[in-house]
């Protein structure tokens, strides 16, 4: 029994690892499904822990969670889109239990379309200069219809993410209650692989840089702009990897 147990445990380790490596090889086999060059604004440099030597680029997109205002309205991610993604929105919003009913709905898997718009937020006020130029513009359950609709691979990323139904309402501080006019909207809450490891070959480019969150606090960050760009590939399983990274010289900015 004991020998069988140890053998099975060892076989399980090796089989699981072989499966992972085959998955990774399959994803990167053939020509990439998408290849797009993004800057530090969209791929933010993160280091997981103080002692860690690992380096990741985190995909940032807009609207980032928490950026919504009630007045913005649902936009493209309205009730019809939510129903298309499988949310049951039949309970009227006037029902007394609507708030708790809709707020308890879990996130769902979906393909998310991110459009890379270099000109977005140009000359914007407040802190918009540091917002990502990748904008969530659509979501769907199937990949093929989205590929057909957004065929420009250099402009649109179609990748797996998760979406959530939001019961949106406005709090009236004077009346200390919610104002009428609640509506349902959706939000892209997560990209399934948003933290992408920097391969050892590219560490020499990015290794000496501070984290992007620290760089944003530097006084000249706004005028200097992003410090690097990287080519982001997606493969057959829609899983990403970083191709080559390059530093953006000050004169080019």
């Amino acid at each position: 029994m004991r020998r069988a147990g140890i053998t099975l445990a060892a076989v399980l380790v090796l089989a699981a690892d072989a499966f992972v490596l085959l998955e990774a090889a399959y994803n990167r086999s053939g020509s990439p499904a998408t290849a797009i060059e993004l800057t530090e604004w969209e791929l933010r440099l993160v280091r997981p822990q103080r002692e860690s030597t690992a380096l990741f680029l985190e995909l940032a997109w807009e609207p980032a969670p928490g950026r919504f205002k009630f007045e913005d309205g649902p936009g493209w991610f309205d009730q019809a889109k939510l129903e298309e993604l499988g949310y049951d929105c039949r309970l009227p919003l006037t029902d007394p239990s609507a708030r708790t009913h809709y707020r308890a709905m879990p996130a769902k898997d979906a393909f998310v379309v991110l459009e890379y718009n270099k000109a977005a937020w140009g000359g914007g006020a407040e802190d918009r200069w540091l917002w990502s130029r990748l904008l969530a513009v659509d979501a769907g359950r199937g990949l093929a219809p989205l590929r057909k609709k957004y065929s420009d691979m250099g402009r649109f990323l179609i990748i797996p993410g998760s979406v959530r139904l939001i019961y949106s309402e406005k709090w009236d501080a004077n009346l200390r209650s919610y104002a009428p006019g609640a509506y349902l909207r959706g939000a892209v809450v997560e990209i399934l692989v948003s933290e992408i490891s920097v391969p050892p070959s590219e560490r020499r480019v990015l290794g000496s840089l501070t984290r992007t969150s620290e760089y944003f606090t530097a006084p000249d960050a706004r005028t200097r702009g992003p410090r690097y760009s990287a080519i982001l590939y997606h493969g057959r399983n829609h899983e990403p990897w970083i191709g080559s990274c390059r530093l953006i010289a000050a004169a080019q900015r």
Binding site: M1, I6, A10, V13, A16, Q49, T100, K108, S162, S197
Partner: protein, 357 residues
């Protein structure tokens, strides 16, 4: 009889011998029983031989202080295992950046295999298995690190199948060496895997499974049922862990749903759902107490009683807290507690009468 089952029975016998010696000394002091010198010598010699033989074969605790030290060793081996896990993870993170991808993969694949070998080595060298337990926990941690870091290196989509692989691996370690620590880790992984699978079947994202307590119910019920399996009879020392973990999972899920019905999948009005789960909670707790007393499983009965009390106090809070003065509320709680105490006392007496010849 398996070695561990033998050890359990050996320990029970050693405990009985210790109790017998204490009672014999008490009876002699009270004058109820007097052994002559020859009888005493023969008895003492027999008991010594029995204890020596049990210690030789199973490395059991023969005194109260040995038992206390064993508990300390168990705690130390758990903490040591956890610390070793953390050391392996932090060591890899510290040097990850200096390795190329093939070297990273090699280190990740080899580490759990080396630790598995170390666990086997320790298990062969030491019958008490404290070091094997410590190393098994580190082996499990290394396998968790293995799959999660490989996923990070190649940017793979998180998959619930990793939970299945980790759970199976931990159970293999637990059943191979008869260790409880990896069993507990494995049960957490497998219950989470079942919950994630349900979440996915219901159309949600699998990672959102903790938001829906109902996804844990089936996993909890399965764990409660495992000790009844024929296969499990050879591993009776694991049964309490299955029952405790299963009951805690089910009770916790019911407790959350009885307070927040909106977290349910069922298309029923929230207030009705909460009431439904409150009734289910009281019924489940009552059943647990009854089963615990009937099958002489103290842990099951105590857990059921604690959950029953918790549900009851929560109901009282919802019903009375807002309109009742604080002192009256706590007086009522105190009176109810006294009532429950009387009820349990009566139940205890009846149970005592039932087992009396």
């Amino acid at each position: 009889m398996g070695e561990s089952a033998g050890k359990r029975e050996a320990q029970q016998r050693a405990d009985r011998i210790r109790a017998f010696r204490e009672e014999l000394a008490e009876l002699e002091r009270e004058g109820a029983l007097t052994l002559d010198r020859a009888q005493r010598a023969a008895l003492e010699s027999h008991l010594q031989r029995t204890l020596a033989s049990l210690t030789e074969r199973f490395d059991i605790d023969t005194t109260e202080s040995q038992k206390h030290i064993s508990w300390g060793m168990r705690i130390a081996s758990t903490l040591g295992g956890l610390a070793l896990c953390a050391a392996v993870v932090l060591f890899f993170q510290r040097f990850w950046g200096f390795l190329d991808i093939p070297a990273q993969v090699l280190v990740l694949v080899v580490t759990p295999l080396v630790l598995l070998g170390a666990t086997e080595f320790a298990a062969r060298r030491e019958r008490t298995l404290y070091y094997a337990s410590l190393l098994s926990l580190a082996t499990f941690g290394a396998f968790v690190l293995n799959l999660s870091v490989l996923g990070s290196i190649f940017n793979l989509t998180p998959s619930r199948n990793a939970l299945l692989a980790w759970g199976t691996f931990a159970l293999l370690l637990a059943y191979t060496y008869r260790l409880r620590l990896p069993l507990a880790a494995g049960l957490v992984c497998l219950v989470s895997y079942l919950a994630a699978t349900f979440s996915s079947w219901w159309g949600g994202q699998w990672l959102s499974f903790p938001e829906k307590p109902e996804t844990f119910l089936l996993g909890g019920l399965v764990l409660i049922a495992v000790p009844a399996l024929h296969f499990q009879r050879r591993y009776a020392e694991f049964n309490w862990l299955y029952r405790t973990f299963g009951l805690l999972t089910v009770f916790l899920a019911i407790l959350i749903l009885s307070e927040a019905g909106s977290l349910s999948y069922l298309p029923i009005r929230e207030s009705r759902l909460e009431m439904m789960y409150q009734v289910a909670g009281f019924a489940g707790a009552g059943l647990s107490v009854w089963m615990g007393i009937r099958a002489r499983l103290a842990g099951v009965a105590n857990l059921g009683a604690a959950f029953f009390a918790l549900l009851l106090y929560l109901r009282f809070y919802h019903w009375w807290w807002d309109w009742m003065p604080g002192y009256v509320f706590f007086l009522v709680i105190s009176l109810v507690s006294i009532g429950m105490l009387a009820l349990f006392q009566k139940l205890r007496k009846q149970t005592g009468e039932a087992v009396r010849p």
